[in-house]
């Protein structure tokens, strides 16, 4: 099968205006993926499905990733001439710059070819942000098997799929307002009673427990006056 770079080059030759980036996977699997721009995603997906050498006729998996906003601190070394000794070596000052990496939601598709027995080719789509632009084009018109899985991503991550034939919640009830797989989801506080709490559960359960009695000071063993 072609490498992701080869697929990207062929796609760019066919669709000159498309935004396609190869996202490398540094792991041992080295399953690199193709990040597609939302504008051409549907057309690119149809090409991948119908192309004679790829013929990716099955979408086996759709999942979501939540990338919350992240503050990145970058340290750079800046060399400035020493005012006390202009002829000497320049003074090296470390400068820390903070920048805010905007959060987004990502949808990942795993594609296989059953007829040519190869795969996977991994596609990624990203939303503009996590709040008012949390939308990507739906690939259900291209691969029918995406329908329920895109509904699941819609339910648990809150990604709206434009062009989906039946976009409803699939696991949680319709009145539910949250998206439980987002990292900032706060689950309902029903930790009134935990038989053996520990770790984070203990911290949550403590809010419901009465204050512990003060520890009795036990006399030290063998401490006879």
């Amino acid at each position: 099968m072609e490498t992701p770079e080869q697929i990207r080059d062929r796609l760019l030759a066919r669709f000159p205006g498309a935004e396609i980036t190869v996202v490398p996977n540094p792991g041992t699997d080295a399953q690199h993926s193709l990040l597609l721009g939302a504008a051409h995603a549907r057309a690119l997906a149809e090409f991948l499905r119908d192309d004679a050498t790829l013929r990716l006729d099955q979408c086996s998996n759709v999942t979501g990733i939540d990338w919350p906003e992240k503050e990145i601190v970058e340290t750079t070394k800046v060399a400035t001439p020493d005012p006390a000794n202009p002829a000497g070596p320049p003074k090296v000052v470390e400068q820390k710059t903070k920048r805010l990496q905007l959060g987004c939601l990502e949808v990942v598709y795993h594609l296989y070819s059953i007829s040519l027995r190869h795969g996977p080719v991994i596609l990624r789509l990203r939303t503009g942000n996590r709040t008012d632009q949390a939308a990507v084009p739906s690939l259900t018109p291209v691969w029918r098997s995406c329908e329920f899985q895109e509904r699941e991503v819609f339910d648990l991550f809150g990604v709206t799929f434009h062009g989906h034939p039946d976009l409803r919640r699939i696991l949680m009830w319709d009145e539910f307002a949250d998206h439980p797989m987002r990292r900032d989801y706060v689950e309902p506080d029903d930790y009134e009673w935990e038989p053996t709490p520990h770790g984070t559960v203990l911290e949550k359960a403590k809010a419901h427990y009465p204050a512990p009695p003060p520890a009795a000071v036990a006399p030290a063993k063998g401490a006879t006056p």
Binding site: E187, H208, P210, P213, A215
Partner: protein
């Protein structure tokens, strides 16, 4: 008139009583001596028909208990009814998700009295391995009064049969009158449970405070 309602129970006449040994001896001679209460609870306890209703993997064990190898028919409960209107026993066999909980409670409300509830398995008792999840009810006893708890993950069919026998013993201990009478023979206890609504974040209410309060937490003294 029972002695309980007599305002002057100063000198109740001593009743002639028959001991267990005398009654067994009479039975051996072909004379059946019984009371209406005994007859009633005997009939009730030996025809407990469960609702044909399964939720998760515990239901597989429940089905196994109804098949020939374990044969729940030996205890009079082989008639799994497909309608709650004809069922006496709700076996909550498996994980109750919050999305499923109103339907389970609705089934319980549709069952006619006398009715009993068995919480089968860790999930139905407390949420089990999904206890810390956001979408699983942490025990069906938050909404339905449970008669018998059967621990296990899942419990074996023998455990279900043991729970059923325990339920039968519980039914046989019921009194027909007085404050010890079961729910369906009293006027002051409600037979139906309110069905929670789907809220924006959780079920509303998340538990029925009339029948469920959190058990006291085990609080250890903080280390000095």
């Amino acid at each position: 008139m029972s002695p309980m309602s007599d305002p002057t129970p100063a000198a109740p006449p001593p009743r002639p009583t028959v001991t267990e040994a005398e009654r067994d001896e009479l039975r051996r001679q072909g004379i059946l001596l019984t009371s209406l209460q005994e007859l009633y609870t005997w009939g009730n306890s030996h025809s407990v028909w469960p609702l044909n209703f399964g939720l998760a993997c515990c239901a597989i064990e429940m089905i196994a208990a109804s098949m020939a190898k374990f044969d729940i028919a030996r205890f009079g409960s082989e008639v799994f009814r497909p309608s709650p209107r004809q069922a006496d026993l709700l076996i909550v066999s498996g994980t109750v998700t919050k999305k499923m909980a109103p339907q389970v409670i609705r089934l319980w409300n549709q069952m006619p009295e006398p009715k009993y509830c068995i919480a089968m398995g860790a999930c139905a008792i407390s949420g089990g391995p999904f206890k810390q999840g956001y979408n699983v009810l942490k025990g069906i006893d938050r909404f339905i009064p449970v008669d018998i708890y059967i621990p296990g993950c899942p419990p074996r069919p023998e455990a279900l049969l043991h729970g059923l026998v325990q339920l039968q013993e519980k039914i046989q201990g019921f009194k027909l009158t007085g404050p010890a009478a079961p729910r369906h023979l009293r006027d002051d206890l409600p037979c139906n449970c309110p069905v929670p609504e789907f809220g924006e974040h959780d079920l509303e209410p998340p538990a029925n405070p009339a029948i469920w309060t959190a058990p006291p937490a085990i609080v250890r003294a903080e280390k000095a």
